[in-house]
């Protein structure tokens, strides 16, 4: 197991390098650049600017410098579009924001979604089952860009309970609505997924065996059915968790949280190669970490997978 983890970690660096090279060239292929605008800069000024950001060099030299700076000094370079800020600054400011509300959103998704799915499976075709189906449909017709204004309408404008936007260092009042707006549709998916797999597990022969042992229903569910029923949700939550902690563009913009979702959009509009590349690396690292975690959890639950790892 430890061996496996180490092997996986060793694979991260070469993969990241390939990703960087790929993304680096791909971005430059897109028309335009960080300094093109409707009123073109005079050629002499342009040359100056390009030189300042090292963009007058051939591409592979730029790439080399970029990688070298990351490896030696963890320096992702200056932002092209935001004056006097480095990519490190931008991420250091925006990522804690999305990490905070994304994390709480994931907690909301799991703490509500899983029990709801289980109850719906146990009360198959009962009240809770229909409630859950209703919720799933609700989150489908109220995607977050409808849900968020609705939340603000209720919690801010009608009842005055929560601030309608801003971040304020991540005080809980500012976290609640972004977390809910971001998480609701995922929560419905988790509930549906859990319900489906729980129903399937409860119909499996080994659950029938557990029943034949005369165990109480509670024990059967907690001891025999729960772990296998959570496997699909686990697989699903890996990538979703990455989306969540890197924030959603919509949530960042709507609630003015100042998270990196917003930076990503700005970066894309202004061809801020440095920001885009920095964020791409962040996503990649998080995805690696989360898939590794999911795989390890999977192995912890499923002895067959565990045997395959060592």
């Amino acid at each position: 197991m430890l061996n496996y983890t180490l092997r996986r970690l060793l694979m991260v660096l070469p993969t990241l390098l390939i990703l960087v090279i790929f993304a680096f060239y791909l971005m430059r292929l897109a028309p335009g650049g960080p300094f093109t605008s409707e009123r073109p800069l005079p050629p002499s000024v342009m040359a100056n600017v390009l030189e300042r950001y090292g963009m007058d060099e051939p591409l592979h030299v730029q790439l080399w410098t970029y990688v070298k700076n990351i490896v030696c000094c963890f320096d992702f370079g200056p932002s092209f579009s935001q004056k006097d800020r480095t990519v490190n600054d931008v991420i250091a400011q925006g990522f804690p924001v999305t990490l905070t509300y994304g994390f709480w959103s994931a907690v909301f998704v799991l703490v509500l979604g899983i029990p709801l799915g289980i109850i719906a499976a146990l009360r198959h075709n009962g009240f809770w089952d229909y409630t859950m189906t209703g919720l799933a449909i609700f989150s489908q017709i109220f995607p977050n860009f409808v849900l968020a204004p609705l939340l603000v309408l209720l919690f801010t404008l009608s009842w005055g309970l929560l601030p309608g936007g801003g971040w304020n260092g991540g005080q809980w009042q500012y976290v609640v609505m972004p977390a809910i707006a971001l998480g609701t549709s995922y929560m419905a998916s988790v509930a549906r997924l859990t319900r489906g797999s729980m129903l399937e597990v409860l119909n499996s022969p080994y659950i029938r065996t557990a029943r034949a042992k005369g165990l109480p229903e509670r024990t059967i569910i907690m001891r025999h059915a729960l772990k296998p029923a959570l496997l699909p949700t686990l697989t699903y939550m890996g990538p979703v968790f990455v989306y969540m902690i890197t924030g959603s563009v919509f949530v960042d913009v709507f609630f003015s949280t100042g998270g990196i979702g917003q930076d990503f959009i700005n970066g894309a509009y202004s061809r801020d190669y440095a920001i885009l590349l920095g964020l791409a690396i962040l996503y990649a690292v998080l995805t690696f970490a989360l898939t590794l975690m999911v795989d390890l959890l999977y192995a912890w639950i499923d002895p067959k997978v565990r045997a395959g790892l060592s």
Partner: protein, 315 residues
């Protein structure tokens, strides 16, 4: 001890009722072994499941299943849970899928006695070791920690049997305990079940489609076809003079040990549709002895056989 009276099992399905078991009655006495024999789909497993109260949700059951005078079809869930494993154990048809792949063998064995007998984990483990020795799983102590997928088919079957033995029930329902296994392992498992009667005096309902495994193990045989009893008799009598064309067909499908050159003949044709309640002998389409009366009367079980023609006339 166990008395099944006029058992009917029907399933509601998308295209109508499936009559899986019709008017089946039989008795099992203390430390008696009886066999339920029939082709695939004849309702054997459903009878076993109904005794355990484990039928699928779309099932409708009629009749009585008396366990020491108590009707299991009318008992509370709670009482049923007490009887399960402790008084009646079951060995399911497929040992591959009936073990929980996510739990160690140890836990799957110990939880039974921890629950029913309030044993501590230590005592339960000691019992598990005892039982694993009894079903001859080598190196039991080390194997307790293993998961089902780490065992061979024969060993898994032994584990499933061990599971049924944990509380030393008075009756074990063994649903095709040897079907998935090769011949030598089959013989070992049957020997094991025979030893269990010696050691614990357990009664066994052996479910099988192979009359061959019945001889020398069960005193009585119930032959099922299309969810109905075709014939019931003592094993010796049945082998000497089978009283029903279907039984004769089944016997011809048993390998002859004395004369292996003797060709095996499976009964031609396929099991009946169970969507309608038959008005004729369900076996008629495949019966070599069928006459016109067979096609317009449903033969009733009489003197141990459900056939309109007298024994002497059968081929």
């Amino acid at each position: 001890m166990l008395s099944v009276r006029n058992l009917h099992i029907r399933f509601r399905t998308g295209d109508g009722m499936v009559h899986a078991v019709n008017d089946v009655s039989f008795d099992v006495g203390a430390s008696q072994h009886i066999a339920l024999v029939g082709e695939s789909g004849s309702g054997k497993s459903q009878i076993a499941l109904s005794i355990m109260g484990l039928l699928a949700k779309n099932a409708e059951v009629d009749g009585q299943i008396l366990w020491n005078g108590q009707d299991l079809l009318a008992t509370s869930q709670r009482e049923m849970n007490r009887i399960r494993a402790q008084e009646i154990g079951i060995i399911f048809q497929d040992p591959m899928s009936s073990l929980n792949p996510y739990m160690t063998i140890e836990r799957q064995l110990t939880e039974i006695v921890e629950h029913h007998e309030g044993m501590s984990r230590r005592d339960a483990r000691a019992r598990a070791l005892e039982v694993m020795d009894a079903v001859r799983i080598p190196d039991a102590k080390a194997r307790l920690r293993a998961y089902p997928h780490e065992f061979s088919g024969g060993m898994r079957q032994r584990i499933v049997i061990a599971m049924a033995l944990m509380c030393q029930p008075k009756l074990i329902l063994a649903d095709e305990p040897t079907t998935a296994l090769d011949v030598t392992v089959q013989a070992q498992i049957m020997q094991l079940l025979a030893d269990i009667r010696q050691d614990f005096g357990t009664s066994v309902v052996l479910i099988t489609h192979d009359l061959g495994v019945v001889a020398g193990f069960c005193e009585d045989v119930v032959v099922l076809y299309g969810g109905r009893i075709m014939e019931e008799a003592q094993t010796t009598a049945l082998f000497e003079q089978p009283g029903h064309p279907y039984t004769r067909g089944l016997l011809r499908a048993v390998p002859n040990i004395e004369d292996p050159s003797d060709a095996l003949t499976a009964i031609p044709g396929s099991p009946p549709s169970q969507h309608r309640f038959p008005q004729a002998c369900p076996f008629a389409p495949r019966c070599v002895d069928a006459v016109d009366t067979c096609r317009d009367t449903l033969p009733m079980l009489h003197k141990g056989r459900a056939c309109v023609r007298p024994v002497e006339e059968l081929t």
